[in-house]
């Protein structure tokens, strides 16, 4: 839970940092859909690659190529997510409904973080 919380914050931070550097008009109306697709496509791409790599040394030797592919796919999907109306609306509905998970996972994750920190870092 603790790792998931921190990892989610890192992923969110990544989306925010990307948004900070991109022109406002690219994201103003479609932040939710493009942000969601960007995060999901990057994470799913990483998962696919991690599934196929079974040796630690693979990660070092193949990671540069892997990152180029991941971000190319993510850029294309993120661009399309803002352009295709039905896709945009579907992503927005999904994201809106997924908010319910925050009400569960955030308090539990924070509690987990406090327990781990209290027991092991004191």
């Amino acid at each position: 839970m603790v790792t998931n919380l921190i990892e989610s914050l890192v992923a969110l931070l990544g989306v925010v940092v990307v948004s900070f550097f991109l022109p406002q008009k690219w994201l103003r109306e479609v932040f939710v859909s493009r942000g969601s697709v960007l995060a999901a496509s990057v994470l799913i791409s990483i998962m696919v690659f991690e599934y196929h790599f079974d040796k630690p040394a693979d990660y070092y030797s193949k990671l540069p190529v892997l990152l180029i592919i991941i971000f190319s796919i993510a850029c294309v999907l993120t661009f399309l997510a803002g352009r295709i109306g039905p896709v945009r609306r579907a992503v927005e509905v999904f994201a809106e409904n997924a908010v319910i998970f925050l009400f569960i996972s955030l308090p539990v994750s924070l509690l987990s973080l406090i327990v781990v920190a209290f027991r092991n870092l004191s």
Binding site: T3, V10, A11, L43, I46, K55, P56, A57, Y60, N120
Partner: protein, 511 residues
């Protein structure tokens, strides 16, 4: 005396250290027979069936044979468990798996027995050290850590390691479970997507500089395979020389008397011997007995199994070679003169019937028959014991070495040669129930009972029907002829006894 003068007091004060100094010269050495050191050395997944000391055609263990010249050698010693968790727990607690219930992969002993282990019963007068290079053994040591004076992490003596569990000193078992077993486990894609990527990238980078001199240069493991001893599941890469050297250093640091439990990963898969040991057997023409493929096996080909066997045998020879140096140092340093050295394993390894390894429920000897050598302080002769013994017998025997009483909860008995008697009429068991909950009924399980030279195996919950197999281990050591349907009387008697024991112990835990 009316009063004590200053002079009287000074005389008295001078007498105290003088008396204490004198006592050191006339009292027996505290490291005598009453409190010898004890070293338990466990080689993970070492099958007795592949050791030349037990008659294997390949010369895999010349140094074990050297130790055997001054040891008790147990020829029919079996693990009570079929894989690391259950086998190690039985060795450490003297209890069968259906009692201690560390039965699932990475499991721990149930709370009722958590304080019943070799470290607690031998007591605080011993300096007690534990080292489990296998994480699943480490999880048990972590459970018993309040009974350990020194607890080395699994990553100790490694060339490269990247474990996180030991960062959580007060929650190390949970740390290993959550961090190394769940989030960053090497055997699967990591559960932590972003950190897992970074973790493996960093470890991959660090592995690039691991020295591989002397190891095969072929890409047998595929591109980017680092061919040195390691765990496939956890981020530990090591050299056997470093591990044995580290253990020796640790031994010299301990206060005597000491009890050490050193559980080495090798020769567990992946089999990574040095090239010179592969060359020993590569073209020897050895052709193991062919056995029928079992329905519960992976249906592997004979060629695949024989090649894995070759690497395993070479790895065992490699381990034996490094053990030989370790033994020499123990001898020359004088440690062995006041130490019981116990050499054993937690379970065996199979290269037959369509199977490589031990991750199956089958009860055939290669997976359960393990080495046991015990060298007593000053022992100069070899004593061979052929009657069947079990890993649950180690705890009571070890307590005898230390002059401790054997607790009534111990399920084993003294080993022959150390107070016990050779008794083949006694029933001993091996239990596998890795698919069951520790606290529930053992509804999917396999077990073997040995008695009077026979072995009866029982498979419960695998497939549509349960079944038994009976082998006469004296006439048919390769277990090729199933006698269960042929020998009605023996089958019935053994079946009744096995089922009685199983039904008594396999229910859900209460309280």
């Amino acid at each position: 005396m009316e009063h004590i003068s200053r002079r009287d007091f000074l005389k008295l004060a001078a007498m105290v250290p003088a008396t204490l100094a004198f006592s050191q010269t006339i009292l027996p050495n505290p490291i005598g027979l009453d409190s010898p050191n004890i070293i338990i050395l466990v080689f993970d997944a070492m099958s007795a069936d592949n050791l030349s000391i037990y008659g294997y055609p390949r010369k895999t263990t010349p140094n074990f044979e050297e130790l055997a010249q001054r040891s008790n050698v147990y020829h029919s010693h079996y693990s009570a468990g079929s894989f690391t968790t259950s086998g190690t727990a039985s060795l450490l607690t003297g209890l069968y798996p259906w009692t201690h219930r560390a039965i699932d992969e990475g499991g721990q002993v149930v709370p009722a027995y958590a304080d019943k282990n070799i470290f607690s019963v031998i007591g605080k007068s011993y300096d007690r050290a534990g080292f489990g290079q296998n994480i699943w053994a480490e999880l048990l040591l972590g459970e018993f850590r309040s009974n350990l004076d020194i607890h080395l992490p699994p990553s100790a003596f490694s060339v490269r390691e990247q474990l996180g569990g030991d960062l959580f000193q007060k929650d190390s078992p949970i740390g290993y479970y959550a961090y190394d077993d769940f989030l960053f486990h090497l055997g699967d894609s990591p559960k932590s997507v972003i950190f897992g990527l970074l973790d493996r990238f960093l470890f991959g980078y660090r592995l690039r500089s691991v020295p591989t001199d002397g190891y095969p240069s072929s890409n047998r493991g595929g591109e980017n395979y680092i061919y040195v001893p390691h765990s496939d599941n956890y981020k530990i890469y090591y050299n056997l020389e470093d591990v044995f050297r580290g253990l020796l250093t640790q031994l010299h640091k301990l206060d005597q008397p000491f009890l050490t439990y050193f559980h080495l990963w090798s020769p567990h898969a992946p089999y990574t011997p040095r090239q010179e040991f592969i060359e020993l057997f590569k073209h020897d023409g050895f052709n193991p007995t062919r056995k029928p493929k079992h329905p519960l096996s992976d249906q592997l080909s004979v060629e695949t199994m024989n090649y894995a066997r070759l690497l395993y045998d070479a790895y065992v020879a490699n381990v034996d070679s490094e053990f030989g140096k370790f033994l020499d140092e123990l001898t020359t340093s004088g440690i062995l003169d006041k130490t019981y050295l116990i050499l054993t394993s937690d379970h065996g390894e199979m290269f037959e019937r369509g199977i490589i390894g031990h991750e199956n429920p089958l009860m055939y000897d290669p997976g359960l028959h393990i080495p046991l050598l015990i060298s007593a302080p000053g022992q100069t002769i070899r004593d061979d014991v052929y009657s069947q013994t079990n890993s649950v017998d180690v705890l009571p025997t070890l307590l005898r070495f230390a002059g401790r009483a054997i607790p009534d909860w111990a399920e084993g008995q003294l080993l022959p040669g150390f107070g016990g008697v050779e008794d083949n009429s006694r029933a001993t068991f091996t239990v596998d129930a890795k698919l069951c909950s520790s606290f529930g009924k053992l509804s999917i399980a396999s077990m073997a009972m040995r008695k009077n030279g026979y072995k009866l195996s029982y498979y419960l919950g695998y497939g549509n029907t349960d079944w038994f197999e009976l082998y006469n281990l004296q006439n048919d050591p390769e277990e090729l002829t199933d006698l269960f349907d042929e020998n009605d009387t023996t089958s019935r008697i053994l079946k009744d006894e096995l089922l009685t024991a199983f039904n008594k112990n396999s229910g859900p835990l209460r309280g």
